[in-house]
């Protein structure tokens, strides 16, 4: 029957499993993100660093090239914890920039246009909504952080042999865990600020502002009080400390790793609480 001849009819067909419905939100959010040519350009640019690193790893294992350039210790680079930490530092910067650009577009438009009641009048919970939006950022940022990180690990393992992979398996764990905690923190921060500042541009600026302000404020506390307490409110320092622990390296941030983990998880908890306050069908005015 032609579509325009149809009248109202109920639906009695198959339904998708309830647990999978938050992926719908992720799918639509990703589609929306990639409408931006600027985002696409930055996303493509984020693959340059992994390609260069992969090339360096390849050269590291090419005797002809090593002989040609008279490499010291017969290697171009040393593929170790420092290498992967540096790589993730670069990629983390790009990921943060991407988050500041796309993060505000996750929740702010829904709040500004009053769309939340439309989500929550369906069999779809607030937790699933946050999870769906979070997963869209997680998916995107994964391709900037741990996916290329593991790709480089795989390239090195392939060229060095299975023994290297087993011996350095802690690096793979470090790449995964440090990327995940970083993605979780910046994504939750972006979403929380996006929920509280409904204006997209302001929310983007605020994400950058909060990160830099907290780092600066933490440094000021350290300088004034001549202590290390300030590091606990500086997200960058906390991530650095946690990553150093995960990669088994000496950290430039002199606070205990457990404390850094706790501070990061507390920040994530605060962001979730902020989201919980705003992500509601209707705000209750008491």
């Amino acid at each position: 029957m032609a579509v325009y001849k149809r009248s109202y009819r109920s639906y009695s067909g198959r339904l998708t499993p309830a647990w999978s419905r938050f992926f719908v939100l992720t799918r639509y959010a990703l589609r929306n993100m990639f409408r931006s040519k600027f985002l696409l350009a930055v996303f493509v640019l984020s693959f340059f660093s992994p390609l260069i690193c992969a090339l360096l790893i390849y050269l590291n294992h090419n005797p002809t090239v090593l002989t040609m350039i008279h490499a010291r210790n017969n290697e171009v680079i040393n593929v170790n914890g420092d290498f992967f930490l540096g790589f993730l530092g670069v990629q983390g910067g790009i990921a943060f920039f991407l988050t500041a650009f796309i993060g505000p577009g996750t929740i702010a438009p829904d709040l500004a246009n009053g769309a939340l009641p439309l989500y929550f009048c369906r069999p779809f919970s607030r937790a699933e909504y946050v999870l769906g939006k979070l997963f869209s950022l997680f998916y995107l940022l994964s391709f900037v952080t741990w996916v290329p990180g593991l790709f480089l690990f795989g390239v090195e393992a392939n060229l060095s042999g299975a023994g290297w992979a087993w011996e350095h398996r802690s690096l793979a764990v470090g790449i995964l865990l440090s990327s995940w905690i970083y993605i979780l923190m910046i994504s939750l921060l972006a979403m929380a600020l996006s929920a509280w500042v409904k204006w997209r541009i302001a929310a983007g600026a605020l994400i950058l502002g909060v990160m830099f302000f907290l780092s600066g404020f933490g440094a000021a506390i350290n300088a004034v009080m001549r202590s290390n307490i300030g590091y606990y409110i500086a997200p960058g320092a906390l991530i650095t400390r946690v990553c150093a622990q995960l990669f088994g390296l000496e950290s430039p941030v002199p606070i205990p790793a457990v404390g850094a983990w706790m501070a990061l998880l507390t920040m994530c908890g605060i962001c979730l609480a902020l989201l919980g306050k705003k992500v509601r069908a209707f705000e209750v005015v008491r």
Partner: protein, 309 residues
């Protein structure tokens, strides 16, 4: 038959304010109207039924599902058209409706098919590839209706569906709601402060005031009841005239200088004229009239009850 909506001492409190105060009733009609002045608690009741607000006391059931424990089951059979603007601005209408369908659990292809159908059904077929943010107020109302029906719910809750619509658009909206009402197994809850809309559409009416139920009326029963209402303006010994009418089995009541009568079976208008002539009473005016929803509403507004039916 399971009632569509059952309220059992339902109370909602925001801070120290009681918004809904122990509502108790059972509604089974195909179209249920929620009436009340601004701030009566109509929208709060709807939002509580959808699980947006937690009840502070009592509970409610929709199709037998408890709102405290089975909210997902309730939401899967309900379509909701909110009162305020609610849309995703940078999506085309068809993508938006498809998205909403998928969130309700429809597979992607089915959601797309039903999105097209819903938009054609509400009259936005030609505009379905336009972004929702560019729509006029009336079109946004229609999009909200389309998203409420895309997943084929058993109950549609419409919160002020004719808000902001011009008269032709309002008529079309009402016609559509009436059409949907005819569909088997579909129930509609219409929340409005426009008495005309409710009277045109609804079978049952629940009137709220200050968070309490002040009146329940089964309009359908009243419409179908074989009672004939006559309103007259007698001049002369109207008390004797009323007494004479009551002698014929009619029910009479005075309001100002008017006499309202419910004619009993077998009594015709000519009998009234005959009685008037016999009692030397002039009838300055005589017309058929029964209580309109407006009368019911105004009476209910003067009433105070304990919130239960």
């Amino acid at each position: 038959m399971t009632p569509v909506i059952e309220l059992e001492g339902l109370g909602v409190r925001f801070g120290k304010r009681d918004i809904l105060k122990g509502l108790t009733c059972s509604l089974s009609g195909r179209t249920i109207g929620l009436l009340g002045p601004n701030g009566a608690g109509k929208s709060t009741l709807i939002n509580t039924l959808l699980g947006f607000y937690q009840p502070s006391g009592g509970t409610a059931r929709i199709f037998g599902h408890d709102i405290r424990t089975q909210i997902k089951q309730i939401r899967s059979v309900v379509g909701y058209m909110p009162e305020n603007d609610a849309f995703i601005a940078n999506m085309t209408a068809v993508s938006f409706i498809r998205f909403m369908g998928e969130l309700s659990g429809l597979p992607s292809e089915a959601a797309l098919e039903r999105a097209h159908e819903s938009l054609f059904y509400v009259g936005l077929g030609e505009s379905r590839y336009r972004k929702v943010g560019t729509f006029s107020l009336g079109m946004k109302q229609l999009v909200k209706l389309a998203q409420a029906i895309v997943h084929g719910p058993k109950l549609i809750i419409l919160d002020e569906p004719t808000n902001g619509l011009d008269p032709p658009a309002r008529q079309r909206m009402i016609r559509m709601i009436k059409e949907m009402r005819e569909v088997h197994d579909l129930h509609i809850v219409l929340c409005s402060h426009l008495l005309r809309d409710v009277e045109e559409i609804c079978e049952e009416v629940l009137i709220l005031k200050d968070g309490r139920i002040v009146h329940y009326s089964n309009l359908e029963e009243e419409r179908s009841a074989n009672r004939r209402f006559v309103e007259m303006e007698p001049v002369g010994d109207s008390a004797a005239f009323a007494h004479a009418l009551e002698g014929l089995g009619c029910e009479c009541a005075f309001s100002a200088n008017r006499l309202k009568a419910v004619l009993s079976d077998g009594i015709e208008i000519r009998d009234i004229y005959r009685l008037a002539a016999e009692g030397d009473v002039q009838l300055r005016r005589l017309n058929y009239r029964r209580d309109t929803l407006e009368d019911i509403f105004l009476k209910a507004m003067e009433t105070t009850t304990n919130g239960s039916l």
